[in-house]
Symmetry: D2
Subunit: 95 residues, 4 copies
């Protein structure tokens, strides 16, 4: 997982963009680019890794604990709503 | 910059390792690896990006503000000592 | 929640320590303490806030999705094991 | 430091707001507030600690390396411009 073909495709797209960022950084270092620009690109790389983390974490929580057809385990709470609330908070740590 | 050939070489080595991590992640997603393992690998990728950030930041601060042969600008402080103290703190944000 | 009296007590203890750190910082700023020391104390404050986050997040996940006496919802996975694995990863973001 | 009375006053104001947040959290835990709300408040507390970090770090860099009346140490660069560029990047790590 990410299980759905759509989730998988999106994760792969993100990873290809990240690979492009890493390659651009490698060239930038080789060419002696100004540190200040490198730092910006590294911050963007971290942002992209965090975005990927948030997406895979979201899939993971939904797969593990999201509602499924038949069961509605802890009836008082809607797990999907809870996961959404949780991800909203965790995303503030993944910027 | 990183200016010295040695700094440059180390930054490039780090970037190659990071590219390897990204490629391994892409394969892992394609193969439907368990999310929990993907999350570990993404956390390691972020750690590597942070390590690179710390290293380039350190070079940048030394280049901008480190002692140079002739001048010793704000005589009361040793800029190298200050930069080292600063990086020690910033590294706690870059884990 | 944190629901159990023990969890609650620990969260309150952490918050009291954090309050102590904030008060010490306020005094330090008033007294004109060196920035470098202030930065260390602020990094420690952030560490303490992250530690609290990790603890409350752990309680929250267990309450929402942890095993309960009667039901074992998605039989293939042990939610407690999954939560532990997840928290292990999230803690790397909460240092 | 922060040296100027204005910087000091602002740091103290931030710390008082943070103390208020910590006290509100302590009450919230005592009253058994929902974890989801606690997590939001803890994320806000971390944000406030990061905001304080950014501010003190900015003061610190300016004090150590900012331009001063007489000297213009490494003539090719304007340290104030460099510090501003640096803080812009570091702030992305301090959200």
């Amino acid at each position: 997982m990410p299980h759905s073909p759509e989730d998988k495709r999106r994760a792969v797209m993100r990873l290809r963009r990240i690979k492009g960022q890493v390659q651009a950084l490698e060239r930038a270092v080789e060419e002696g680019t100004d540190c200040s620009l490198l730092l910006q690109q590294i911050a963007a790389l971290r942002g992209a890794a965090n975005g990927l983390m948030a997406e895979v974490l979201d899939s993971h929580l939904r797969e593990l604990f999201g509602t499924q057809k038949e069961d509605t385990p802890h009836a008082a709470v809607d797990p999907d709503v809870e996961i959404e609330a949780l991800m909203k908070i965790l995303r503030t740590y993944l910027k």
